[in-house]
């Protein structure tokens, strides 16, 4: 083989390499979405205490996350008017969660953002007029029930982004690890459930720590765990047989007014159904189940609890459904005002829709029996664009 022939014989290889490089770099075509369990809704929600109604919503600019600041609003029972009550001193662009031990006290937890890696806390006993700072030296999980406050004792329960669960001493100090996702999943209760991700933390009315998550082993009992006698055991509602072969996720778990309320999603994808469950006591207490709400693929974006057993769910596409209790049925609400972040219950029944447009919050009311939302109040929020970046 001459030098020339050898050179020429290498050229197809070179050209082939170039072609292969070009052809091999075609864009990857991803497959269709897998049927995954419904995830917990956004942090936007509302909370009712003895002296007022609270709501969390995100406001600001759409351009970058660090210009979207989460805000807390309160409607004191005495005035009936909403006002801004975001605790000061910390950037809230990572998210805000709320919990109440009952009475008029509310604890807010900041999810860390940007270069902050732990969660400052703030507590108020006067409808947000003054906040007392606190601290959780870890990052709260991005779920609306990441923080829970025990009735009377002042202890806090925190579900962390790492999957760990920490319990504080009285007054929200002296945090210690109560559980980890790995340990809970390895426990007898966790194995029976086939525990996926943890989704919520709460206290029972008597102060027993509760955790909730996704069960993938299709047990009869939903994935709510109670911590008694030094062990975790399944304490969720027993589901009808028709849910026997479905994943069950707990989307919300809250305790207010001596009752635990859980919002469950059964199934995956467009076959998902939403169920509410109520219980008045600790482990072993009976649960009442609501009728199912077929979601038809709609994603719950916000879930709020009202007085008594009422529940309202905001679904993607400005739809909402409300439920009055175990004996009631899911009732569609009139089409929500555009930008509705969450629903908050009215003291006299009915719902307030909190609609966000950049820095403007509009309150729309739907009194009982009405079919039209009416704008009743507007709040301009002085968002400090660019203050976090």
């Amino acid at each position: 083989m001459t030098r020339h022939t050898r050179l020429v014989s290498l050229l197809p290889l070179l050209a082939g390499t170039v072609l292969a490089a070009g052809c091999g770099s075609a864009a990857h075509q991803p497959g269709g979405p897998a049927a995954v369990p419904v995830r917990p809704p956004s942090l936007a929600t509302s909370l009712v205490t003895a002296t007022g109604t609270w709501a969390v919503a995100v406001m600001g600019g759409p351009a970058a996350d660090h210009n979207n600041f989460w805000q807390i609003f309160v409607r004191p029972a005495a005035t009936g008017r909403w006002r801004l009550a975001t605790p000061p001193g910390v950037a809230s662009n990572g998210g805000l969660v709320m919990a109440s031990p009952g009475g008029q006290s509310v604890v807010a937890g900041f999810r860390p953002s940007q270069d902050l890696s732990f969660s400052p806390l703030a507590t108020t006993d006067d409808n947000g007029a003054a906040w007392t700072p606190g601290l959780l030296d870890a990052a709260l999980a991005s779920v609306p029930d990441a923080l829970a406050a025990a009735p009377d004792s002042g202890r806090l329960l925190a579900l962390l982004a790492s999957g760990e669960v920490q319990l504080s001493g009285p007054g929200g100090t002296g945090w210690a690890t109560l559980a980890t996702h790995r340990a809970l999943a390895a426990s007898a209760a966790g194995r029976a459930c086939g525990l996926g991700r943890l989704t919520a933390a709460a206290f029972s009315p008597s102060g027993v720590p509760l955790l909730a998550g996704t069960c993938t082993h299709h047990p009869e009992t939903a994935g709510i765990f109670a911590y008694t006698s030094g062990t975790w055991h399944l304490a969720g509602p027993t589901l009808p047989a028709r849910y026997a072969r479905q994943d069950i996720s707990v989307l919300r778990l809250t305790t207010i007014g001596g009752a635990i309320t859980a919002l469950l999603a059964a199934g995956t994808g467009s076959a998902t159904q939403l169920l509410a469950a109520w219980s008045t006591g600790d482990s072993g207490a009976p649960w009442a189940l609501s009728p199912p709400l077929p979601l038809h693929g709609a994603k719950p974006t916000s879930i709020s609890r009202g007085p008594g057993h009422t529940v309202a769910v905001v679904l993607a596409g400005n739809h909402a459904q409300a439920l009055t209790g175990p004996a009631g049925t899911w009732q569609p609400l009139p089409a929500l005002p555009p930008g509705t972040a969450t629903l908050a219950p009215e003291p006299a029944g009915g719902w307030d829709a909190l609609a966000v447009h950049s820095t403007k919050l509009t309150i729309w009311q739907l009194p009982p029996g009405h079919t039209v939302w009416t704008a009743t109040q507007t709040i301009s929020v002085p968002v400090q664009f660019g203050s976090s970046g």
Binding site: R3, H4, L7, V8, L11, P12, L14, A15, G16, V18, L19, A21, G22, C23, S25, A26, A27, M59, H66, F69, W70, Q71, L84, T86, P88, G89, V90, A91, S92, N93, G94, L96, F110, P112, S113, Q114, D115, L116, S117, F118, P120, W131, P133, L135, D137, V381, P382, V383, Q384, S387, S388, G389
Partner: protein, 618 residues
């Protein structure tokens, strides 16, 4: 890509002024190099009689009775020599020092696979850490290679210039052009594939060939065949369905080629140039299929004609190729070097030079019928190398060195002039303080007594400024629950502790809380843990009651403002340098700017320098 972007504005006046100053200083040194070499050469020729007789031209080259350089090689050498010089001048554009990694290298790598980005990111980070040295290195290395190619027409010096051209060309192709984008989608000859600098490297390899193959007709055939096969391959790629080249526009979106040209037209440039490119874009949008069909057909036919290696077919193909390249250069590649960050005139001119050289090498009449040159005999050459190491031989070689050898030596000096500072900078893992200076501005020297304070440290122990007497204090103000600047400044302070080394025992790194709400010892402890400051022995994070803190803030010109609606505390980013006697010697703006790895490192160096300055006896 982390590290690629220093975050400093490409038009930053501080950096531009420093870059210009660096080029000016090195330019003076370059002139001195050439002057010294020139004087030395004239002197040697006057003093040593061998110089008058002519003879060996160093590195095996021949001066008298040497073989003439064939026209294909002359074209390649002079053409790429001019291109290297031109590219070097383009590298001297003011925006280049800061802008090249973030606005040239990073976009070119963005669509490439992860491993390519990883490789390119290393180079981009290196550049962004030392923008002055890297920018100047690119200027002098490329000008040096260009001058070398232009000056050395034959012999060892000339072949070595070709090899250096290959080496630097490959460096630029890999790190500057992300392998010419050959691993990225959208690869097309029309837009510069396989990367202009790869053609520089190919030309360099041809220039490095020994003289015995200069007149071999098969070399011309090999050049044209290689080019022909490449063009046919590019035609297949251009015709490949699903890559968006057959559509000028689809569903209101531009096709691949129209998208590329409309992006190019956005580059700042003379209006008539962008008008031409825009006109072509509109034409392609309307007749995308026809444009691609023409491109595929032209590349295939020209490539096939080159593949035959026959002059009769190669000549018209060469004319067509030249016209096609020029049209592509103007209408699609948009000349390539406008906008302040253009690094070269793109691939079409190098392609023309390569093709014409191949054609000339194919033509028998272009090579003079001269006997084999002396250095064509390998055994004799090997012997002459050993011979040349002897003092007498070296003296003879120096005396006989011709003008090309002297200029080549000067060009080598230019390359070293650029490469040496970059290599020295690369030895340090810390960024140039010029980045921090460009963000923070200048600080005037101060000299007044620092106001005292008595606060509590992160361990709950009382600390006062008086208790730190005898040590240099770097004092700053941080919010323990801040989400942006404060963690960055804390990391910079931690790096200062490491940079100071043994001297850190004489320096206290002190921060004072600037949050009137979150100011408990638990808050500063959480901050210290998050920023890994708990193991820094000379780190003190001080807090106190709100009245105590407010007094210190007043004394040091700090305002901690509680902002509404979920914003963090607003406060200034300032550091004070307090000397051993408790006197303020500097006030530094520590706003960390974009907080990139380069600027963080740069601030750490700036603060370290300030601390070291305060440690020196006044």
């Amino acid at each position: 890509m982390p590290g690629m972007n220093s975050g400093v504005n490409v038009n930053d006046p501080t950096v531009i002024a420093a870059f210009k100053a660096a080029l000016l200083h090195q330019g003076v040194i370059a002139l001195v190099i050439f002057c010294v070499l020139g004087v030395a050469w004239v002197t040697v020729r006057a003093w040593l009689p061998a110089a008058q007789a002519g003879g060996q031209d160093g590195l095996g080259g021949s001066a008298a009775g040497a073989v003439a350089e064939p026209s294909w090689r002359q074209l390649l050498r002079v053409g790429f020599g001019v291109l290297w010089v031109f590219d070097g001048i383009l590298q001297a554009q003011p925006k280049m020092a800061i802008g090249l990694p973030s606005q040239v290298i990073e976009p070119s790598a963005a669509s490439s696979p992860h491993w390519v980005q990883h490789v390119v990111n290393w180079a981009g980070t290196t550049w962004s850490y030392h923008p002055m040295q890297a920018g100047a290195a690119a200027v002098w290395i490329q000008i040096g290679i260009g001058i070398w190619l232009l000056a050395a027409d034959r012999g060892g010096w000339s072949r070595l210039a070709g090899l250096v051209s290959v080496g630097w060309g490959l460096v630029v192709w890999v790190f500057g052009e992300s392998f010419g984008g050959v691993f990225a989608p959208g690869l097309t000859w029309l837009f510069g594939a396989p990367g202009a600098v790869l053609i520089y490297a190919v030309a360099g390899a041809l220039l490095a060939l020994p003289e015995r193959v200069w007149r071999d007709r098969r070399l011309g055939q090999a050049i044209l065949s290689g080019l022909g096969l490449f063009l046919v391959g590019m035609a297949v790629l251009q015709a490949w369905p699903g890559r968006g080249f057959w559509q000028g526009s689809s569903h209101g979106h531009q096709g691949t080629l129209a998208g590329m040209t409309s992006d190019m037209a956005q580059t700042p440039q003379p209006h008539f140039m962008s008008a031409l490119v825009n006109a072509f874009t509109r034409f392609d949008e309307a007749h995308g299929f026809a444009v691609n069909l023409f491109s595929v057909a032209a590349l295939t036919l020209i490539g096939a004609a080159f593949l035959t290696g026959r002059r009769r077919l190669a000549r018209p193909a060469l004319i067509a190729f030249t016209v096609l390249c020029l049209a592509d250069w103007v209408l699609i590649e948009d000349i390539g070097f406008f906008g302040g960050l253009g690094t070269d005139p793109n691939s079409m001119i190098p392609f023309i030079l390569l093709a014409v050289s191949g054609y000339l090498a194919l033509t028998p009449g272009t090579a003079p019928a001269v006997a084999k040159a002396e250095d064509d005999r390998p055994a004799a050459a090997a012997a002459s190398w050993r011979e040349q190491l002897r003092p007498a031989s070296i003296r003879r070689s120096v005396a006989a060195a011709g003008f090309p050898a002297v200029v080549s030596l000067g060009a080598l000096g230019l390359i070293i002039l650029g490469a040496a500072p970059m290599a020295a900078a690369q030895a340090s893992s810390h960024a140039d303080p010029i980045l921090a200076e460009s963000i923070a501005g200048s600080s005037a020297p101060l000299n007044f007594p620092a106001k005292g304070f008595a606060l509590t440290d992160q361990h709950g122990q009382p600390v006062s400024l008086a208790s730190l007497h005898g040590k240099v204090v770097l004092l700053t103000f941080l919010d323990p629950v801040c989400t942006t600047d404060c963690p960055l400044i804390a990391q910079e302070f931690r790096a200062v502790g490491q940079l100071l080394g043994a001297a850190s025992k004489q320096v206290e790194l002190v921060a004072i809380v600037t949050n009137p709400i979150y100011h408990q010892v638990a808050d500063v402890q959480a901050f210290d843990r998050a920023e890994q400051l708990t193991q820094v022995p000379n780190w003190l994070y001080l807090t106190g009651s709100v009245p105590q803190l407010r007094q210190v803030w007043r004394d040091y010109g700090i305002s901690a403002e509680i902002l509404p609606a979920g914003s963090m505390i607003g406060h200034q980013d300032i550091a004070y340098v307090i000397d051993r006697d408790g006197r303020v010697r500097q006030e530094l703006n520590t706003d960390p700017g974009p907080g990139t790895t380069a600027t963080k490192s740069s601030f750490a160096v700036l603060l370290t320098d300030a601390a070291r300055q305060a440690l020196r006896p006044s």
